[in-house]
C-alpha cells in the first residue's frame, strides 16, 4: 500500500508542476497581451490614477485640458475637464474611461501619462513613486492660437464646415475647427446624440477627415504644375475658347456663363476660368500634375502629430474608396478640382502654406513642446521640411496671382483694410441643385506671410468668395491683430 501512497504523492507533485507552469505562463508569457486588453480594469484605473499633463494653447498661456480630482474609497482618480468645452474639441480631443481617447489626447498619451521613456520624465516618476505620490504627466504646449481658434469657431457658427490655419514657415497648426462640434466634457452624451439621424456627424473632425471636391482652389495646384513645367509664365496667353469647351464629349463651362477670350494665366486664375485651366491640365498632362500633387501631399496621409485614424488622404475617390494614382482619370476635370478628386481642409491649407513658404512644404505640427512636472522640456518639436514643391520664383509668381484674386477677382470679400491677402476661391457643386461646397484658401500678409488658412462650408447656396472668404479674413485678422505672430 505504501508504494501506491507514494505514487499519489508523485501525482500531487505533477499537479503542482502543472499549476506552477500555468501560473508562469500567465505571469510571464501572456502577461503583456493581457495587460493591454481593453477589459483589463487595472489598465483603465491605472491610467486614471495618473495626473495627466495639462494641454496649453500656444505659448502656454491658457489651459485647454485640465484635471478634476476625485477621491472615493481611498482611490484617487483624475478625470479630464475641458474649460473651453467644444472650442478645442477637434485638435485636443478627449480622454475618457468608457469611450477611449482621440486627437492629441491619444497621440501624446505617452507624454501626458509620463509613460514615455525620456530620462528626465523617468526620474520625476521614480521620485513620485518613492514618495508614494501620484504620477504626474508631462504638460503639452500646443501651437493653437486662441484668437485664431475663436475666430474660426465664430465664423463657422451653425454652418457645417471646417477651418484650418497654419504657420507657413513652420507648419504649426494655429487653428483647427470643425462644425458641428461636440462638448468633450460629455463624450458619452455626444456619442448618443451623434447616433441620431440628422445630427451632422459632430464627432467627425472635418478639418483632417472631411473630404470635399476642392473645386477652383485646386487651380492653384494646376498653376503650380504649369509654371514648374517651364512652358508657362503668369503672362502666357491662353485662348479660353468662349463659354464652354468639349472635353471627352461632355461640355465643360465657365461658372456663371462667363466667356473667356485670349487671357493670361494670371487673369485666368483671377477670374477662375474653367475652360482655360482644363486646357492647361491637358497640356501639362497627368504625370506632371500628379507629381505636383504628390509633392503637395496628396495621395498620402499628412505627416502630422495626430492619430493616423483621424487623418484622411486627399486624392481620387470612387464610391468612398481611395483610388490608386494609376487609375485612369479625366485630367482636364481634375485640373479644375472636379472629377473624383477630394481633398481635406488640412491638405488645402498645406497648399496655401507651401506657396506662402516660398515653395517648401512643411509637416503640420500641433505640439510645440512637452514639459516634465519639474519644468524640464522633454520634447521640442522642430519645423520639419518635407519637400520643395516649386521654385521660389514660382511661389512668388503664384503669390502675386493669388493677390490679384483678392484684389480684383473672385475673392474680394477677403480684403482686410491695409493688409495684403493672397487667396483663391472655390465653389464645387454637391450634386444637389443649388447647394455647393464653398472653399477659400489664403495667406497673409502676401509679402511676408504669417498665416495660411483653408475654409470649407458644406452644402451652402452661396459661393466660396461670398461665404468662405469672409471667415478666412476674420481668422487672419484676429490672428495678426493678436500680436502673437512673430
Amino acid at each position: 500500500m505504501n508504494a501506491r501512497i507514494g505514487r499519489l504523492f508523485w501525482i500531487a507533485a505533477l499537479g503542482t508542476l502543472i499549476l506552477v507552469t500555468m501560473t508562469a505562463y500567465w505571469q510571464i508569457w501572456a502577461a503583456p497581451d493581457l495587460a493591454a486588453r481593453e477589459d483589463n480594469a487595472r489598465l483603465v484605473y491605472r491610467q486614471l490614477s495618473v495626473k495627466r499633463g495639462l494641454i496649453y494653447d500656444a505659448g502656454g498661456r491658457t489651459v485647454l485640458a485640465a484635471n478634476k480630482r476625485r477621491v472615493k474609497n481611498g482611490i484617487t482618480l483624475y478625470l479630464r475637464r475641458y474649460p473651453f468645452g467644444p472650442l478645442f474639441a477637434q485638435p485636443v480631443g478627449y480622454n475618457t474611461v468608457g469611450e477611449g481617447r482621440t486627437a492629441l489626447e491619444l497621440y501624446y498619451n505617452d507624454y501626458l501619462t509620463s509613460s514615455n521613456s525620456d530620462l528626465a520624465t523617468l526620474f520625476d516618476k521614480l521620485g513620485d513613486k518613492l514618495q508614494g505620490q501620484t504620477v504626474t504627466g508631462n504638460d503639452l504646449v500646443t501651437s493653437l492660437s486662441m484668437p485664431a481658434q475663436r475666430a474660426a469657431a465664430r465664423g463657422l457658427g451653425a454652418l457645417h464646415g471646417a477651418v484650418v490655419a497654419l504657420e507657413p514657415q513652420t507648419g504649426r497648426v494655429l487653428a483647427m475647427a470643425s462644425s458641428p462640434g461636440y462638448n468633450p466634457n460629455d463624450v458619452a452624451g455626444a456619442i448618443k446624440r451623434a447616433a441620431a439621424p440628422g445630427s451632422g456627424s459632430p464627432l467627425l473632425n472635418r478639418a483632417t477627415q472631411g473630404l470635399y471636391a476642392p473645386g477652383s482652389t485646386f487651380k492653384v495646384v494646376t498653376a503650380t504644375a504649369a509654371l514648374e513645367s517651364g512652358r508657362y509664365t503668369p503672362d502666357t496667353i491662353i485662348d479660353g475658347k468662349g463659354t464652354c469647351i468639349t472635353i471627352q464629349t461632355v461640355p465643360l463651362c465657365n461658372a456663371g456663363g462667363e466667356s473667356a477670350g485670349q487671357v493670361s494665366l494670371a487673369e485666368a486664375l483671377t477670374f477662375s476660368y474653367n475652360t482655360v485651366f482644363a486646357q492647361i491640365g491637358e497640356q501639362v498632362g497627368k504625370d506632371r500634375l500628379y507629381r505636383t500633387m504628390q509633392a503637395y501631399g496628396f495621395f498620402q496621409k499628412p505627416p502630422a502629430d495626430f492619430p493616423s485614424d483621424e487623418l484622411s488622404r486627399s486624392g481620387m475617390y470612387s464610391r468612398g474608396r481611395f483610388l490608386s494614382p494609376s487609375a485612369p482619370v479625366d485630367i482636364a476635370r481634375v485640373a479644375i478640382g472636379q472629377e473624383r478628386l477630394l481633398a481635406t481642409p488640412l491638405q488645402m491649407a498645406t497648399v496655401a502654406a507651401t506657396i506662402a513658404n516660398g515653395g517648401m512644404r512643411m509637416a503640420p505640427s500641433l505640439v510645440d513642446k512637452a514639459v516634465s512636472p519639474s519644468g524640464k522640456t522633454v520634447f521640442e518639436s522642430r519645423p520639419e521640411q518635407i519637400t520643395r514643391v516649386m521654385s521660389s520664383q514660382t511661389a512668388a509668381d503664384l503669390t502675386s496671382m493669388m493677390r490679384r484674386v483678392v484684389e480684383e477677382g473672385t475673392g474680394t470679400a477677403a480684403n482686410v483694410g491695409n493688409l495684403s491677402v493672397a487667396g483663391k476661391t472655390g465653389t464645387a457643386e454637391t450634386g444637389t441643385a443649388g447647394l455647393n461646397n464653398a472653399w477659400f484658401i489664403a495667406f497673409a500678409p502676401a509679402e511676408r506671410p504669417r498665416i495660411a488658412v483653408a475654409v470649407v462650408i458644406e452644402r451652402t447656396p452661396e459661393f466660396g468668395g461670398t461665404i468662405a472668404a469672409p471667415i478666412a479674413r476674420d481668422v487672419i485678422e484676429a490672428y495678426l491683430a493678436s500680436g502673437v505672430a512673430k
Partner: protein, 428 residues
Amino acid sequence: MRSARYRELWNLLFVALVTAVGFLSVYTARQQEIDSTSLIYAGYFLALYAVAHIGLRAGLPDADPWLLPLAALLTAVGLIEIYRLNPTLARDQSIWIVVGLAGFLALILLVGDVRRLESYKYTLGALAVTLLLLTMVVGTEINGARLWIRLGGIQVQPGEFSKLLLVVFLAGYLREKQEVLSMSHRTILGIGFPAVRHLGPLLTMTGIALAVVAVMNDMGTALLLFGIFLAMLYVATGRSLYTVVGLALFAAGSWFVYETAGHVRERFSIWLNPWPDSRDTGYQLIQTIESIADGGLFGSGLGRSFQLLDNGSTIIPAAQTDGIYAVWANETGLAGAAGLLIVYLLFAYRGFKVATLADDSFSKLLAAGLTFAFSFQAFLIVGGVTRVVPLTGITLPFVSYGGSSIVSNFMLLGLLLMVSDRTRKAIR
C-alpha cells in the same frame, strides 16, 4: 517534552515572523484606508497558534511537527490577503479560525484514538450522503450553485464536511472490502475483473457525484468527491482498472450532464474560450487571469496590487474565496505563487508520509485519503483560476475566506495529526 514539539515551535516561530511581516506590509501599503487597530489580528492570530501548539503538547505530543506550521502558514496567507481586501471579512475569518481551532482541539480530546471512528463508518457515510441530500433539498442558491444551507444567521457549506465524512467512511469500508475488491472473479482478454456485485460501490459513488453536479450545479464538489473515491479505491486495491472504469463512467456521465444541463455546458465553454464574452460570462475568469498576469515575477508587493474598484468592490468577483490565489499571485508574483503551491506540496508530502508510517490499513487509508482530498481540492481551485480545469466554486484549503472550509480543514488536520501521533508513539 518531546523533540517533535520543539521542532514545531521553531517552525511556528518562523511562520509568526512571516505573518508579522505580511501584515505590516499590507498595513504600510494601505494605511490611508485601514485602521491601525486592525493590526491586532496579527497578534491574535499568533496567540491562536500558540494555543494550538500547547494543545498538541498535551494531546498529541508525538504528532508530525510540520503539518500544524504549514497549516498556520496557509491561514496566515489567507488572512493577510482577506485583510488586504476587506478588514471586516478578515475579522470574520479570524473568528472562524478560532472556531476551527476549537473544533480541532475538541476532536483530538473527544476521539482520542482515531481507530475508534472505524466502527462508526456507516453512520458517518450515511451522514455524508444526508448532508448532500439536505443541501439539494433545502439549500439556497447563490450565483446559480446550490452549495449552502442557511442555519440561523450563517451559511454552512455541507459539501466541505461531506468530504471529510466520505474519507472516514471509505477508509473503514475499503479496509473491510479490500480483499474481495482486489480479487479477480474472472479474466477477460487477460484482464482480471472482480465480481459484478463488488462494482456496486463504484456505481453508487458515480451516481452521487453526478447528482451533485446535476442538482446542486456544483461541479467542484462532485469532482472532489469522485476524485477522493477513485484515489482511495486505488490505494486500497492497487487496481488501476477501477480508476480507468471509474473515469470512463464519470466521463460518460459528465457528457450526459453536459448535453442536458445548460449551466454545465456554459462552464465548459467559458473554460475552453472565455475571451469573446469578457464583460459577461467570461468576466470572472478573465479578471482573475488578468490579476494573476499583473503579478509578473515578483508581484506588486503585499497590499500594493490593484484589487478594489472606486466603489469599494473587488475587481475579481469572489476575490476572497475563488479568486484568493489570483490576489496572492498578483501581490507576490510567480515567486510567491510557486511558494504557496510548494507549501501545499509539502503538506501533501507530510500527509502521505503519515499514511506510509501508519501501521494499520484503516489509518493508512484515512491519512492518504485526507491528504489526497486536501491536495486535490487545492488543485481544483488553483487549476480553475489558471484555466487548467473549469473554474468551480470550491475553496482553497485554509486560505479562502469561509467558515465551513476553515472548520472542516482544521478537522482534517486534527485527524491527520491523530494518526501521526499514534504511529510515531509506536515507533518510539
